[in-house]
Amino acid sequence: MADLQKEFNSYTKDLNKASKDENIKKAITRAVKSYRETTAETLTRFPHTPAMAEEVREIKTKSIANNSELLKQAMESVERNKGKAFYAKDKQEALEMTAKIIGVGKTIVKGKSMLGEELAIREYLEEKGNEVWETDLGEFILQLNHEKPMHILSPSIHVPREQVAELFTKFFKKEVPPDIAQEVAVVREFLREKYFTADVGISGANVVAADTGAMVIIENEGNVRLSTGAPPVHIVLVGIEKIVPTFQDAMKVAEVTWRYAQYGVPGYVNIISGPSKTGDIEKVTTYGAHGPKEFYVIFVDNGRSDMAKEEEFSEALNCLRCGGCMYECPVFQVTAGHFGHVYMSGIGAVWTAFVAGGLEKAAPLVFTCLRCGRCVERCPMKINVPSMIQKLREQVVDG
């Protein structure tokens, strides 16, 4: 029997410590302010967004209800595009499939992905004897610091430039001053070499179009472009809940996602549907022109279809991972990702319960949530987190 009191005690200590951390306080306060300002500004600039969000909510709800059909269709589309599509029913299968494609002794460049965190894919591939580099700057910092992300979009939100400088100076074995531009520059130089020598690039996807097999990946840094474009092999690991019927649907989902994710207009939107190809010589299609010759998509279930079956929770699969709710959450504002287990804050408690550790890991989070409902005000999908939290509490209580 799991003694929740013990879990609570260590978790509470961690939360309390986080709430007294000046870095977290400073960073989150700044981030919340900037999130609210940018979002308000871009919603004014693109006033069609809330209506589009409603449309996306319907698209997502229908897609989740029709998930097995869409999954079949998406896999067929990927195969038709000369990619290879797989379905992984759980974490272990997803890890093994990935490792089988990659093998050992390889260098891998990886884009940021919450599913990657859920699977702990980097750690797994490293154990198998590979070298894995996080290419998102925030994730890279955490990789060097052996830390877990503190926000789904800004994982190293809590690490100030001085700490970054210290970390980089040690890692690069040369003096890196606490100057953000210079910090960015050293990582750019270091990873540039990795992109072009790596054997495999791994990414997630924000949304998948079943009709075309298109993976849509939103980003600002350009690291996803390079990770998915430069190495000879590209592997996409994506949750089955990300599939929507059409390419046009996918565009709507993407736009709503980035708008609520404070991107306004993102630097890059990558759309990848298959391996790189050319027909320029005698119209003979040849794969691996400039980009990857091999393209794999692993659709990961790992509890998602169970969630879809439960009326009270299926709506949680609509989550776009824009992270807007976290900026609104009073608990998150004082504790950052410490209020989480892989997935963070109220919605994270729901996800943790189903896909990332079960009710036991979710229980402390479930009771930390205030059920205040401000996340629902922000959420473009209007996911009723307070009601789900209450249902999870019932499950904790009733066993």
Binding site: M1, A2, D3, L4, Q5, K6, F8, N9, T12, L15, N16, S19, G303, D306, M307, P330, V331, Q333, V334, T335, A353, F354, G357, G358, L359, E360, A363, F367, T368, C369, L370, R371, C372, G373, R374, V376, E377, Q390, K391, L392, R393, E394, Q395, V396, V397, D398, G399
Partner: protein, 333 residues
């Protein structure tokens, strides 16, 4: 989903047990909870049932418990003893009143009088109230909120029984938590639950033309309670009430549906975090430059005060009151 058997922290079990066995989260006696109403001699039957749920009356006890908890490991024996004071007392014969009074109660007078003041205000506005007195039971909102749905099913039957004895058509709730649970949860649990559920705020709003003008030099800021603003969609009413009394007020950055939670809901399990959240909300409200924070929820009142108390360095503290206290001062002046 992986479902393991999970042993709950003792505080949850004790709260649950107290509600189920004693009709309120702290196992207070009905006579104690109803003490405020002695002079008023309200009838037990009528059209409009005044419902306190004991929530304001219990606040100082909850607060003292929370400060005890902040100093104590929740898993410790002493802690369980404190939380289950009445349970243990019943078995061993220690004087409960003495223990509660000496260890815990400090603002007893103030919080007991809030229910009294609310009743007086409603009477002055022309409402005929009835009240269940010592038979009144806590709504069970915490059972529902904490996930004790099985207990809630049987508990709600007992509560509904008492409510029905009043013969009332309408129930006026002082706490938005009670209003929420009566409005949205009870109709699902009780086949015949024919009551119209109103909050204190709504009844005052209906008769706002009868409110006295308040000549006050204080500038007010409203702290919207989450339940009131988001679940019950009552926000503009609070502003209307102030306006009809000629009270100047300001708006916090996060107001109405976008109000920031006071931190109250996780006070029992995470008192430190709860206090930090409360302190931040107080800061948000202070930013407006107002002199007085008004709220209309017992838990907000208690949580915001707790958040403020933590901030020991400040001398010019903003005042925090319940709307009931504020209105009553208006009637008295």
């Amino acid at each position: 989903m992986m479902v393991a058997e999970i042993k709950l922290p003792p505080v949850l079990e004790i709260i649950r047990g107290n509600i189920v066995k004693h009709g309120n989260p702290l196992a207070m006696k009905g006579t104690e909870v109803a003490a405020w109403a002695k002079e008023l001699k309200l009838p037990e039957r009528g059209d409009l049932l005044f419902y306190t749920g004991g929530e304001y009356q219990l606040l100082p006890f909850i607060d003292s418990l929370v400060s005890t908890m902040t100093l104590m490991d929740q898993g410790s024996k002493v802690f369980s003893l404190m939380m289950g004071a009445r349970n243990i007392i019943n078995k061993t014969g220690i004087n409960a009143e003495k223990l509660y009074a000496s260890v815990l109660a400090k603002d007893r007078e103030r919080f007991n009088s809030i229910s009294y003041k609310a009743a007086i205000i409603l009477q002055k506005l022309g409402y005929d109230l009835c009240y269940a007195g010592k038979k009144e039971l806590y709504s069970g909102a915490l059972l529902s909120e904490l996930g004790f749905s099985e207990d809630m099913k049987s508990y709600a039957v007992k509560v509904a029984e008492v409510l029905k004895q009043s013969g009332a058509k309408t129930i006026v709730c002082l706490s938005p938590h009670a209003a929420e649970v009566f409005k949205f949860v009870y109709p699902k649990l009780i086949k015949d639950f024919p009551f119209e559920i109103k909050t204190f705020v709504e009844l005052v709003w209906d008769k706002r033309h009868m409110l006295p003008a308040i000549k006050s030099s204080e500038t007010v800021v409203i702290h919207d309670s989450c339940r009131l603003a988001r679940e019950l969609a009552i926000d503009e009413e609070l502003r209307d009430i102030l306006q009809s009394m000629g009270v100047p007020f300001r708006e916090a950055r996060c107001n109405r549906k976008w109000t920031t939670c006071c931190g109250g809901p996780n006070k029992l399990l995470f008192p430190d975090i709860s206090h930090t959240i409360a302190a931040r909300r107080v800061e948000e409200l202070e930013e407006t430059g107002a002199d007085l924070i008004l709220t209309s929820c017992p838990y907000c009142l208690s949580a915001l005060q707790g958040g403020q108390a933590k901030d020991k360095d400040k001398d010019n503290k903003i005042k925090i009151e319940d709307l009931i206290e504020f209105l009553y001062r208006g009637f008295e002046a």
